[in-house]
């Protein structure tokens, strides 16, 4: 077994870490407080190559391995969940489906600005009445000559309603399969198409500096050229996208856990009560020891899933396990971190409270913890 990262992976970690500490850390709390998605910061992340990380150079991607991408997400999440969300959703959900399923023409047209980090693209699966049960969605697309006419709505769609958004990949029902189940197809809906409206959602508890949107489709005419892949491929495309997306959510859990743990350790060593640093109290020290141990477990699980993926081996089970474990890991660590900070941990001046809030989405987005357990239990033969 070789646990060493390559020299390039080490460098990526170092560079992304220093970028995150210098460019994101100083403004993360303000962006969070103001519920402010920053396109300036997003463009800066694009400049250092944080978008299109696994896309080939032909479409102006960065042509990296999956583990490098995951390390980058981890390092951003170590400092701020919202920015990590912009990156993870941008790569896995925005760019991913276009790259894996798009026609040559679609890829040439849409990918370059996304990979340069000058624009964003959303991925619309969830609907007001269809979350975990994505097969229960009701948005429809009906053929009319060379166009498809879309009707319906989507909710909670990341990166889909900011000043950098170009459009969104939308799953819609295009017919009925033999056996009676709906047939799904994905469409690339571009901003400005008549009848398409994207509205930013406000009042989030977490990821407050990430852009989340509600989408409305009211007789939106989408040309056949904007169908992603083949008619009927939609459901399969969505599942495959989510398998990869889970790894980036896991990376956010791991990175966020590391960030919270490091703050807690530093605080515990400097805060004195009863005449000694609180890190000397076994009750505190054991919490930190547990955090360090679990972080190590989470990293090994996640990196192994990436290792499988980079070798084109099946990784869906490990991806679900990593997503489940790392998102819950961050919850436990952020909880300990706030506890170790005492009253200060509840104040915005200390960033652990943001980590405590940001963590919760990870157990819900891209398949809830319950759904991950369903996926895993199927894999192990239950």
């Amino acid at each position: 077994m070789d646990f060493d990262l390559t020299r390039e992976q080490e460098m990526i970690r170092r560079e992304v870490r220093s970028f995150a500490e210098k460019e994101i850390a100083p403004i993360a709390a303000d962006l969070d407080a103001g519920e402010h998605f920053s396109s300036t910061l997003t463009r800066k992340m694009g400049e250092i190559g944080l978008f299109g990380m696994i896309v080939s150079e032909a479409y102006e991607g960065q042509a990296m391995d999956y583990l490098s991408y995951i390390i980058a997400v981890e390092e951003i999440a170590r400092v701020d969940g919202s920015q990590a969300a912009t990156i993870a959703a941008g790569n896995s959900l925005g760019i991913g489906p276009l790259y894996y399923f798009g026609t040559e023409e679609q890829k040439r047209r849409f990918l370059p600005p996304l990979c340069r980090g000058q624009a964003l693209w959303g991925f619309g699966l969830t609907e007001p009445t269809a979350g975990s049960d994505a097969g229960g969605s009701t948005t429809t697309a009906v053929r009319d000559g060379d166009n498809w006419v879309l009707n319906g709505s989507k909710i909670f769609i990341t990166n889909a309603a900011c000043d950098m958004t170009l459009g969104v990949t939308v799953q819609a029902i295009t017919g009925t399969r033999t056996g009676g189940k709906p047939e799904y197809t994905c469409f690339l809906v571009e901003n400005g198409m008549p009848g398409f409206k994207a509205v930013p959602m406000h009042g989030k508890m977490m990821w407050r500096a990430s852009n989340t949107a509600e989408l409305y489709f009211d007789d939106v005419r989408v040309p056949q050229a904007n169908m992603l892949g083949q008619k009927g491929d939609g459901f399969h495309q969505m599942l495959q996208t989510l398998d990869g997306g889970r790894l980036s959510i896991a990376a956010m859990g791991l990175g966020g856990a590391i960030g919270a743990y490091e703050m807690a350790l530093k605080y515990a060593r400097s805060r004195e009560q009863f005449g000694q640093p609180i890190s000397k109290f076994q009750a505190i020290a054991f919490k930190l020891a547990d955090c360090a141990t679990e972080i190590e477990c989470g990293r090994n699980l996640l990196y192994k899933a990436c290792w499988l993926r980079d070798r084109q081996r099946p990784f869906a089970k490990e991806a679900a396990m990593a997503k489940l474990y790392c998102s819950e890991l961050m919850g436990r660590v952020a909880d300990h971190a706030v506890q170790i900070h005492g009253g200060y941990g509840l104040m915005k001046d200390y960033h652990v409270e943001r980590f405590y809030r940001d963590h919760k989405l990870l157990e819900i987005g891209e398949g809830t913890s319950e759904v991950q357990r369903i996926v895993i239990s199927r894999h192990i033969g239950c």
Binding site: E8, M11, E47, G49, A72
Partner: protein, 258 residues
């Protein structure tokens, strides 16, 4: 423009330094190494010159095999190629380092050499100056701004409390000072591309030198840790006026700074 950049790999400034048992070196275990911060400014300035004038940026470093990491970082920032001069088990002082660099650089064509004015590990302040002397070219140090025109370089340099403007004919060596620029991050694609950029290693023998002529003129006899900083002191007093008076007295008589 053919631009050469000199860089050194040094322990990261936030590293916890411990003195080794020999008392003349530091313990290498667990140290994180980075590019000397002044050399980051040098790489950045070189890239900016290349971007405006065209040309190539070549990085030279004297150090062990591990120092190639710092060169790779420079390549990832955008430099074109790297040369690592590995002195083997020879301990180099500032002059020996300059001699090695001079031997490597003499057969090369270059318009400008950019170095950090010092490396933050040894704080020698010598290599750049000694190298310019060995090459017989002008040397301008503590540069915070430079402009190139008509085969000349004009620099703004910091001097105690102010700046001075100086000019020299190319080829010349300039040494960076903080404020010159804001070094870029190595972009992720830059990191991947750096993999394929040429990086050659040369030994003392490759440079046509021998260790006998490079023996250090200066040797370290002992290293000592700085005295641990004492905690701050709060000036007590009943009123602001009393406190200010006490503070002024302390600054004048104890700290002797005013």
């Amino acid at each position: 423009m053919e631009i050469l950049v000199l860089l050194k790999q040094v322990p990261a400034t936030e590293s916890l330094i411990a003195i080794a048992n020999d008392r003349v070196s530091i313990k290498p275990d667990g140290l994180k190494y980075v590019m000397n911060p002044y050399d980051e400014l040098a790489v950045e300035e070189a890239l900016r010159i290349r971007e405006s004038q065209g040309g190539t940026v070549t990085i030279l470093s004297v150090g062990p095999a591990k120092a190639a990491e710092a060169i790779r970082t420079g390549l990832a920032m955008g430099a074109d190629k790297g040369i690592l001069i590995d002195p083997g088990n020879l301990t180099c002082d500032g002059l020996a380092t300059a001699k090695l660099l001079a031997a490597a650089i003499k057969p090369m064509t270059y318009d400008i050499i950019i170095a950090g004015h010092r490396a933050v590990d040894d704080d020698n302040f010598q290599v750049a100056t000694a190298l310019a002397e060995l090459l017989g070219i002008p040397n301008i140090s503590m540069v915070v701004k430079q402009t190139l025109a008509d085969g000349k370089i004009r620099c703004l340099c910091t001097v105690e409390g102010g700046t001075k403007e100086v000019e020299a004919t190319l080829p010349a060596l300039i040494a960076t000072q903080r404020g010159l620029n804001d070094p870029r991050y190595a972009s992720l694609p830059g990191i991947m591309k750096a993999k394929k950029k040429p990086l050659e290693t040369r030994s003392i023998a490759d440079l046509g030198l021998d260790a006998a002529g490079l023996q250090p003129l200066v040797t370290i006899k002992a290293l000592k840790m700085p005295v641990e900083r004492k905690g701050g002191r709060v000036i007590e007093g009943d009123s602001v006026a009393v406190k200010v008076a006490a503070l002024v007295k302390a600054l004048h008589e104890e700290a002797k700074v005013i």
